[in-house]
Symmetry: C2
Subunit: 136 residues, 2 copies
DNA sequence: TTTTTATATTCTCTGTTGAGTATATTCTCG
DNA sequence: CGAGAATATACTCAACAGAGAATATAAAAA
C-alpha cells in the first residue's frame, strides 16, 4: 500500500529514471556509478535519485563518503512485479543491455556490493598498494 | 520494435490512461463506455485515447456511429508483458476493481464485443422493444 | 435533408517537469 | 582544522502536459 501503482509508472516514465531503476533491479549502486554508466552530469543523476527516494522506490545507505542506492529491502508488490517486468522487457533492448555491460565494467574490482571502487587513487583503503603516489 | 518501452510507461503515467489501459487489457470498449466507467467528460477521454492511439498502444475500429478501442491485435512484447503486469498489480487495488465492476455493469445487455449497448433508447437495433416511445 | 448522437480537434490557460548553473552539505584525509 | 571529494539542494527557465470550453466532423435516424 505504501507505493501506489501510478507512482511507479511516474517514476518509470523518464528515460534516466527508467535506466536507473533497471540497473537497480540488478544490484545496488552508488551515485558515482550512475554518473559513469549513464554518462550524465552529477546534478541530473542526483535529482532523479532524489525523486525516486521521495517516492519510496529506492533506499539509501551511507557507505563512508558514498551513498549507495538500492531497491527497498521489503519490496512492495507493485514494485516487485514491475521490476520483474522491467527486466523482462529490457533483456532484448540494446540500450539497457549496454547499461548492464557498462555496469559490470564500472564494478570491476569492487569487492562486495559497496562503493569502494569509486575511490580516486588517493592512498585510500587499498589493501596493499603503493602508498606514495599522491594523486596521479 | 514499434513501441518503445519508455513510451509504454509514458502512456501509463497518467491516471486516466492507466485506467483506460487496464480496462482494455480485459476487453475492447467504445468511447462512451469509458465516459461512463471513468465518469469523466468526453473531451478528457477522447484526448487520452488519441494520445494512446498516436503512440500505437491502442487500435480503433468503427462500429457504426461508435468507435471501439482495443489493444493492438499483434501485441508488441513490451506491451504484452506490461499489460500482464498491470493486471497483476490491479487485482488487489480497489479503484481498478471498481472500474471492472462498472465495466461489467456498462456492458450488461451487450451481445458481442461491440458497442450497441451504448445506444440511447431511440428505437435502435433492439430486438423487440416497444417501437413507439420517442425520447423519454 | 435536417437533426441528433458520437467522437475528434482546436485553443487557451495553468501547473508541472526536466535541464543547467551555482551553491551548500557532509565525509575523509592529511 | 583545512582541503578536497561525493552528493544534495536552490533557483531559474523553457518545454510540455492536462484540463476545460467551444467547435468541427461523421454517421444515423427522422
Amino acid at each position: 500500500m505504501a507505493v501506489k501503482l501510478l507512482t511507479v509508472y511516474k517514476c518509470l516514465c523518464d528515460e534516466t529514471r527508467l535506466r536507473i531503476l533497471h540497473l537497480l533491479s540488478h544490484r545496488p549502486l552508488c551515485v558515482c556509478h550512475f554518473q559513469k554508466i549513464l554518462n550524465a552530469p552529477q546534478v541530473k543523476i542526483s535529482k532523479h535519485l532524489a525523486y525516486l527516494r521521495e517516492h519510496a522506490l529506492v533506499e539509501t545507505t551511507r557507505e563512508g563518503a558514498w551513498i549507495v542506492y538500492s531497491l527497498p529491502s521489503k519490496l512492495p508488490p507493485e514494485l516487485k512485479t514491475n521490476m520483474q517486468c522491467l527486466q523482462d522487457c529490457c533483456r532484448e533492448s540494446a540500450i539497457y543491455r549496454a547499461d548492464l555491460i557498462r555496469m559490470e565494467k564500472a564494478l570491476a574490482g569492487c569487492g562486495g556490493p559497496l562503493a569502494a571502487c569509486c575511490a580516486k587513487p588517493r592512498v585510500k583503503a587499498a589493501s596493499s598498494q603503493q602508498p606514495k603516489t599522491a594523486k596521479s
